[in-house]
């Protein structure tokens, strides 16, 4: 049967430059490039290319171009090439469309429609090179402010202490390589923030970084044991994730190799399936029970975070979570990434984190409990400006997952679910995983945090502040550009010029 699926990319090779070294051949795990056995020349099978740009970067002579396949269907506003391709793919295969990474449709990125303020004349901006800029942030439950002496029981309120309000989001070993864990864990350690194990357990080789680890407990309960809970600085219960609200996780058996199986405590080669719900959480009371059993198990020495996907009534859910005992609320917007997710769910379920954050922060304030819990957001945080805006909207800190992987080399080919990540990130194949040297990975992740630290300091100084907490929830520092009145109202910000 003729396959209707089209190539997405075309490979351009400049034969004047190509020296036939074969680097592209050995680097493309998708077997796009191959050496013609008849004349030893290097050729390409374009249809297999996912556009990861690995060969382009590694080709020593700059002979390669990987560009979008130019041939398109006739222009149509509704039936775009993408839409047609998707249907062809499904009619070729009969399967659910899978994808990696987050929401891919070019919907409005609200971060880009929000602008930050700066001081002029009436108050001075502060020079971050000359004055200390304080980014230290504490996450965890704070005492209710009705009595002064509630401050005197610090042991009841364990805190995470961050030197930059940016943490590495949950990405399990198995969905990403151990080298990714090593890179992020070490960077979190040196930059004094936290990394998250994801639901795949804690590998012995990254145990050294447990003081800065947030250990995740998800519906599959992979790798969870009393020691595991004891090892993290914080425990995160994952209810949902932005890339796939309402559905569970699926790590295909091919990715469950020996090491992954051992860390997850499951048989090698078996599919690691996280059910859609936690089968012991069918209600808020059940969540509360799980929170408190985890707290009991760790003698109330660690904060417990609960992560959900941003969905329509996120504000009410978060308020319930706070009351159920969650110390840190994590909201993952619909742009949040994933190793493998049904494309339809990724693109069409959930809401942008900007609105979820604004709604939750407002709701918690209306209920007078905002100060008692910490709020962490994730899902499409791309740069320090997004971080600053998220904090001004009301977040205490953010998680970055995709941005961290991009720092390690990810080129957003969105084929994480195939296990053939050419950049050695979303794979446990030893041939590919070795491509990420954790020494380099650590440096790159550290560099990213360092750079953002400087930029956050610049933003703060420009706004006449020298401490990040003065920006938190400071929506007066934000203005909306090209937003409707209703959007502005929900975000709780004024329009530019107001």
């Amino acid at each position: 049967m003729l396959k209707l699926q089209k190539a997405k990319f075309e490979i351009g090779r400049d034969f004047d430059r190509c020296v036939g070294c074969g680097v592209c051949v050995n680097q493309c795990a998708n077997e796009v490039h191959f050496r013609d056995p008849y004349d030893e020349s290097v050729c390409a099978d374009d249809i297999k290319c996912v556009g990861c740009q690995r060969c382009v970067h590694l080709c020593p002579t700059g002979a390669l171009r990987v560009v979008s396949f130019a041939s398109r269907t006739r222009e149509h506003g509704l039936w775009t090439s993408t839409v047609i391709n998707e249907i062809h793919l499904q009619s070729d295969s009969g399967g659910i469309l899978l994808s990696g990474m987050g929401h891919s449709r070019p919907d409005t990125v609200y971060w880009d429609r929000i602008l930050l303020n700066a001081s002029q004349v009436t108050n001075p901006s502060i020079d971050p090179l000359r004055e200390p800029m304080e980014l230290k942030t504490f996450l965890g439950r704070k005492p209710p402010l009705n009595r002064k002496n509630s401050l005197d029981a610090p042991e009841k309120y364990p805190q995470l202490e961050l030197e930059i309000p940016v943490m590495f989001a949950a990405m399990s070993f198995g969905s990403v390589s151990l080298n990714v864990h090593k890179s992020l864990a070490r960077a979190a350690m040196s930059q004094k923030t936290y990394w998250n194990t994801g639901e795949g357990g804690l590998h012995p080789e990254v145990r050294a970084y447990r003081d800065r680890a947030i250990v995740q407990v998800a519906s599959g309960r992979f790798g969870v044991s009393p020691e595991y809970l004891e090892e993290g600085a914080c425990i995160e219960i994952k209810i949902g994730q932005g890339a796939k609200p309402g559905i569970g996780g699926h790590l295909p058996g091919e990715k469950v190799t020996g090491e992954v199986a051992r860390t997850r405590k499951i048989p090698p080669g078996s599919d690691a399936i996280s059910p859609a719900p936690h089968h012991d959480i069918y209600s808020i009371e059940d969540l509360s029970q799980l929170i408190y059993s985890l707290k009991e198990a760790t003698a109330y020495r660690k904060p417990v975070a609960v992560k959900i996907a941003a969905v329509h009534n996120v504000a009410a859910i978060c308020s319930g979570m706070a009351r159920a005992g969650a110390d840190i609320l994590v909201i993952d917007g619909y742009r949040g990434g994933s190793g493998a997710t049904p494309l339809r769910i990724r693109n069409d379920v959930g809401i942008p984190v900007e609105f979820a954050l604004a709604a939750v922060d407002r709701r918690l304030r209306e209920e007078g409990i905002r100060n008692e819990v910490s709020l962490v957001v994730s899902g499409g945080i791309r740069n320090s400006a997004d971080v600053a805006k998220a904090i001004a909207l009301g977040a205490d800190a953010v998680y970055i997952g995709t941005a961290a992987l991009v720092a390690l080399g990810c080129h957003m080919c969105q084929n994480c679910y195939t296990g053939k990540c050419n950049w050695g990130i979303a794979t446990v194949n030893p041939r590919l995983a070795r491509r990420l040297n954790p020494d380099i990975g650590t440096l790159r992740a550290e560099n990213l945090l360092r750079a953002w630290k400087h930029e956050l300091a610049e933003f703060l100084g420009g706004m006449g502040m020298n401490a990040i907490e003065s920006l938190r929830g400071n929506r007066l520092m934000l203005r909306g550009l090209g937003l409707t009145e209703r959007e502005l109202e929900i975000l709780g910000i004024k329009a530019v010029g107001e």
């Binding site: 020296v19 036939g20 070294c21 680097q27 590694l58 041939r431 070795r434 040297n437 380099i440």
Partner: protein, 162 residues
């Protein structure tokens, strides 16, 4: 007596078998060390002084080059006096003029670091540590820091002759 000499250390764990080190070596030892394209496309192909090996399952790789042994088997076995060890730098060299292509050193090298058969040149070639460069070409080319330049201290044996 001790001397500080440079060595290339391979971290096989992070070798991804791309072969860029090998290509760089080839270019560095060609007539056009500044241009990969010219080096590779003008005249006969230059010979690399090292190689990249892959495990049988294709899952792991090794970048192989001369270890610059203190008591080199290749020097001991060389029948023409082409292989020598420079006492000052600790580098083992093969003089192309003197080499007669008997492949004794190729067989004797425990590391399998000597290149010869299959190049069509009838001479043995090996890593010279790119002493004239700031960084060995292979080290500079490795995209994954699987090759590291080290300055090591070696104890010069007094019993050995120069």
């Amino acid at each position: 007596m001790t001397a500080v000499v440079r060595r290339v250390e391979a971290q096989d764990e992070y070798c991804m078998g791309c072969g860029l080190c090998r290509l760089a070596c080839q270019v560095a030892h060609s007539a056009y060390p500044l241009s990969i394209v010219k080096a590779m496309k003008t005249g006969s192909r230059p010979v690399p002084r090292m190689s990249v090996e892959s495990s049988a399952d294709g899952m792991s790789f090794r970048s192989v080059r001369c270890l610059q042994c203190e008591d080199p088997e290749c020097v001991k076995i060389c029948i023409s006096g082409a292989a020598t060890r420079d006492e000052e730098t600790g580098v083992v060299l093969i003089d192309e003029q003197k080499c007669v292509g008997c492949w004794s050193c190729v067989i004797a090298c425990p590391e399998g670091a000597i290149i010869g058969p299959g190049t069509g040149r009838g001479k043995a070639y090996k890593c010279d540590l790119c002493l004239e460069r700031e960084f060995p070409a292979c080290v500079a080319a490795c995209p994954n820091r699987a090759l590291i330049l080290r300055e090591v201290e070696v104890v010069e044996s007094t019993t050995r002759e120069g």
